[in-house]
Subunit: 439 residues, 4 copies
């Protein structure tokens, strides 16, 4: 038949099974190191696909308790697919990467958002909320996500890789490890920890390697939690399918790796495992701009966001300043992180009013009032996962940075605008909590 | 004639002249204090206008040097119009304010953006750039702004009040002054200063007052630089004409004041006097939601942005992390302010490449290379004033916060996208500098 | 004071009073003719203002009956301000016109939308509805419009000139008059008339003219109702403030005229006087592209819409086909006009359900049911004036053209989405009708 | 592993092979008739998938000549997948259909746009252009399409079903056939034909059926070209993935059918086979609103477009009026179809200037100048397939309807805005033409 001729699917360069532990699969690695060899090589201009497990490597299940979140092994993250070498790329070049599509596996049409325990992973409000594990499972229905653990909302995904980057050079890697160790040394007993040093335990490179190379990678390889000069775990929701990204190249071949796919995420990804985490397939093409680092003063990636973005034009916006008005009232000095947190707490407190029957206060005792806590945790999960927008308002009006957080009203199936009569009584169930009932 | 009947203009409750020093005019004040009496009272539902001088009170001129910026008297800012009392508003209520329009005066169709001296006002990069006064004058042509000091760009304004708020209660005022003094005490010799305490010098309330009241206001009145729980100088570009805002009410009548009108601003307003500052006319209507503070958990203002916003859909986005990669390479601990600064420096460095003939590095010596400095200062001014978008990407990936800064490409009359051939040679003049030529 | 120097307002080249009959004012004309001399001349690059009366020349009042609409004198329309000559423009050039702003007069902060009588002006459904005069007065509050005659809606204006064009050459004028007369001759008894021939009665040029010139203009001058090759009365809502337009030039100087300002309009402007008609002030600048007609194959104007447009992203969309399903069921042959009408009737029928208590059918008898008629007329007026979007869906699927009409849901203060329970009972008053009560 | 549990893919209710002739496959039909039994039944709330061949049923190939387009058998179109019955749906109900996703087959990552011969299918300009077969093949790369036959453009798809509808009742079917036959009878010798009557030749229902039933369906079944009251071939580009549609139900079960998937389409789909036609997979869920036809005055489908839509905010807009200025200059009477055609011809003429070396006129002789013809045909194909927007401007300004057609400038890899210097010389290859070279 006419249509069969010349119908050539794009090649899948790395195939994984989202149901198999990542440490049993080829083409996955979970540390950054220049000596990890490319698992495949592409020519500029080729279109190709890469499959990715979820960031934890199949540790979290589609069920109704959060014990898997409580017990997650963070030494094994993030599970990245790659590296992919690009022919002709050399240090000082700019690697242009087109993110052509990001899709979940057909056989795994769901994702999850988690609140991690204070002592195991934490999250933006781990200390304030004394966080216990909680979770929401999301059903991915075409372009939309809904959750039985957060009823009453439905939204279109802004699907993207949370983590994508080129490989560091040996020098750059050394710089990372040095500066982060200095920070760790300054905060020796912090909970949650301020940064993670290289750690052979849990390290993995799914390729044949000489033992000495493997040992070196495991010993020196940078951890994947923070974003860095090469990109990495930037968790930028607008780096979504359709984006064009410009990466600096640090080693021959560029060695691109990707993982931590997100069906959706809010600006800030506040609960840490705050996106809708998923396994899936990403489609790429690449090109090279010779000498791009110098041409564009390229110290970090730059990108053109996708022309396709959910248009939830109406937003309810919360302000936050660099004063801990939800806590001890302390005045900070031009601190946008504190300001973001205040805006988020204002939004959570509002949602608890808008979506719950007489919820008590934001920092209620866990024992006294589990209804309030689950209302709060639902709101925390929702603001992490939904396409909320957080802007730096002003960062020059000493001593207060001003940060805003805008919730798109179109994601709710009910009206959440300020109502002169207050909000009607509603009940929205609860998110998944620990099987021991601890909150 | 048919049209004349029932044609009733909206009343102007406060009239000012943008050409007369603010301290000679009625209805202006420049400190926050509950004892400043309302200059006018409105009923809920009325539409009315308020005129405002520019934030400095006519200190900056439409000319081609920056001496006025260098010598600006910051004890006299911000010059606010108000307060306006709203009948029936009581503490604990929510004051709903519709910002129906914001327009420049017909007789003053221009505004300005300034870089303040390191020692007098500063700005986000005052220390890094060792800032000397610089300025751009913008011609306001209908919905657009252009500048002879920054050729090659034209953009639609997202016109808004930089500063709007209800009056604090005596208790709230005391809280502000206490917490800010504690911060000042912790940084006794900071340049620029970290915060400003109450200061009678330059204080002004343009009303008849008993001496004792005036003296009390001047002695206790909070300074206007930072935003606070009542709103204030939040400098949020999306609080633009068409927005609906929900303010907490702290005293009887609410006592709304407004000023610091901006024709346009970028997220962050990085150069401090970074918006297109203008004098003008704002149109309001109000309503009251009784008990709104409790109903909506309203610790700070919330708002619905205008449905009208410039649609520059394509943006070139720069990433920034909490590492001072443009400076000493220091690793910060989850610091979104540092991340914003890095994103901004990446953007400035890029614009210097895209818009200048062989510009040298970002922190070049002022003596050695004034061309580079004016290119940098133009970019700094432009990113402050144009509708750039800065999002919190992720704020949970320890130790690095990730902040993005997106420049709308549609504001340029030439192509600024990354070009495989690098950028063609261009010249874009220079911004206004000091008459003594110091840079 | 610093701000006073160099503060130069943009010049107003034509000043009118919206409360004085247009035929008593200078700089107004209501016919198209190459011999109307320019009232003013500008250089390319200048920014200037033009004041305009409303299209009827002050015939319609801010009151609660529609008698003025019933009796409107259509020989006196449209009242245009101009012509403005542009130095250097010659036939074959392209005149670039920047519409920098469009504002109502401060002293006349209202506009109107009218349904004209079947026998005097008509409208899209004049015959189907056997239209009697009706009207809605809109209060213009900053960027928003609301109407006491159509409660429950509020929307941001997409403010634009309904009518703007360059002067025709003598040859082009002759072509217009010839082809339109042929159409008139083919439909000798049509009600409403299919086109209007030149008509000295009511013709007006507000300038000193030789009698012979005036007589010639009045005798030959093309009527202003239809848009033509030079622009004219195109009533395109997206030609709004911020647009850049490219007009063909037919005579030396180009001779630009403008009028019929609209605060808002829906695609189609279905009730004929369907926009929110207003008097006001338009701000322009111009430039010339030599030989642009040839360079751009410019047979009619082209334009770049404003980057500023109300973002009512959610729309409820109605389909219409080229079959008169609301009438006699006739099948038309690829007729997009019929399809638009069906989509509009579907939308009107829906709004009557969504906004009224048990409304009867669309074409009810006027005598039997005035409630239904006023509900229908309110919907007709609303869809004419609000920023509804009408797209050509497909125009190749013989025999049915498909046209859609989308109502932005964000303009309503109540939910109008399809509700499984049907719509709650509501009452929305009525629009202004004739003082004799006839419907 | 944790992720494997409860991972349930959505069921595919109709599976097809896009490489096998449609008349050899199950679950496909190409006529509308109430007696076609449902091939599957769903419950409200279920999520399910339907696979579809391309509209021609695999007649068009991925190659570089247009002979397959020339010889296409239009008796065999459109090949629809279905019907799907929904439990509980009854006449008078409203069937709510969520279009959750539309994707091409992984094994067939391409689509096509065709210009049909004047005598076999035609298209909007079949007569004006004396159309010969031409075609463009598009590579579907994630969210983007590019074509080797139309170089220099790349755009994001607004992917949708061109054809979707519920089954007609016997009465409704009879109405259709009657009214369309009357039109055919009025235009007995039209080329292209004005409408197609029922035609057993080529008719197909891919199910076991009694001969009498099959014969009745083939004899009476309505052809699929036009959209009608049930939806059908409306070819509305914004009925894209993420849309929610409300269909009237005419028979028990509603019997939904779908096909003619489009990766992208411009408003109007002007070349008839004007979308990017593809085979693929559509994901649905449904619900029922009892009595919805009465509740919502539902004579035809209404819908809520997807929140996800390509944001090409800058558009270059062409005007068109109801005068044949590209042809004989005839004045039409309020004819939006003519106006659309003029806007389209203006746009095509412009693109020929912007994208070609000295192209001759729009209606050049085919023999004399094949370069001009292929430039014209490329533009015609591009405007059919890309996300152009066509609005009804005004449809009340007798005698001229005004229609606009806006081309998103962001789809071009080169600048197409009006350039004072005219356009630089470029060459963009050519589209696929007939192997005999006839143009």
């Amino acid at each position: 038949m006419a249509t069969a001729a010349n119908s050539v699917p794009y090649p899948t360069l790395i195939s994984v099974d989202p149901f198999i532990p990542s440490e049993q699969q080829k083409g996955i690695h979970n540390r950054w190191h220049p000596d990890i060899p490319p698992i495949a090589t592409v020519k500029p201009g080729e279109t190709f696909k890469i499959e990715c497990v979820d960031w934890t490597g199949a540790q979290i299940g589609n069920n109704d308790n959060s014990d898997d979140v409580k017990d997650v092994d963070l030494n094994k993250v993030h599970n990245l697919s790659g590296p992919i070498a690009v022919e002709g790329a050399e240090p000082g070049d700019c690697l242009v990467v087109d993110i052509l599509d990001v899709q979940p596996f057909e056989k795994m049409p769901w994702g999850y958002t988690g609140i991690f325990e204070l002592e195991n992973g934490g999250g933006l409000f781990a200390r304030e909320f004394k966080s216990r594990a909680a979770k929401a499972i999301w059903d991915l229905k075409g372009i939309y996500a809904t959750s039985r653990h957060i009823p009453g909302v439905r939204f279109a995904g802004v699907t993207h890789p949370g983590l994508i980057g080129t490989a560091p050079s040996a020098e750059l890697l050394a710089t990372w490890n040095k500066r982060e160790q200095e920070l760790i040394d300054q905060h020796p007993n912090a909970i949650p920890v301020v940064a993670l040093p290289p750690e052979p335990k849990g390290a993995y490179v799914g390729q044949e390697l000489d033992d000495s190379v493997r040992e070196k990678i495991y010993r020196e390889g940078a951890r994947t939690i923070p974003g860095r000069e090469h990109g990495g775990n930037c968790d930028i929701k607008n780096l979504s399918r359709g984006s064009r990204c410009y990466f600096p190249v640090f080693i021959k071949g560029a060695n691109l790796s990707v993982g931590d796919l997100h069906f959706s995420q809010g600006d800030g990804e506040m609960s840490f495992c705050g996106a809708i985490e998923m396994a899936g397939i990403i489609t790429f093409s690449t090109s090279i701009i010779k000498g791009g680092v110098e041409k564009f003063a390229l110290k970090q990636p730059i990108f053109l966001p996708s022309p396709v973005d959910p248009m939830y034009s109406q937003k309810l916006v919360f302000e936050g300043l660099g004063v801990d008005i939800h806590g001890d009232g302390k005045q900070y000095n031009m601190d946008a992180s504190v300001a973001y947190k205040q805006a988020a707490l204002n939004a959570i407190a509002y949602l608890m009013k808008a979506r719950k029957i007489h919820p008590p206060s934001l920092f209620s005792s866990a024992v006294a009032n589990s209804i309030a806590r689950t209302a709060r945790e639902q709101s925390y999960l929702l603001l992490s996962a939904a396409p909320v927008e957080s802007h730096i308002g002003a960062i020059v009006d000493s001593p207060n940075a001003c940060v805003t957080l805008g919730i798109p009203t179109g994601i709710f199936e009910h009206d959440i605008l300020p109502n002169p009569d207050g909000f009607p009584k509603r009940s929205f169930g609860q998110c998944a909590i620990r099987s021991d009932g601890l909150l």
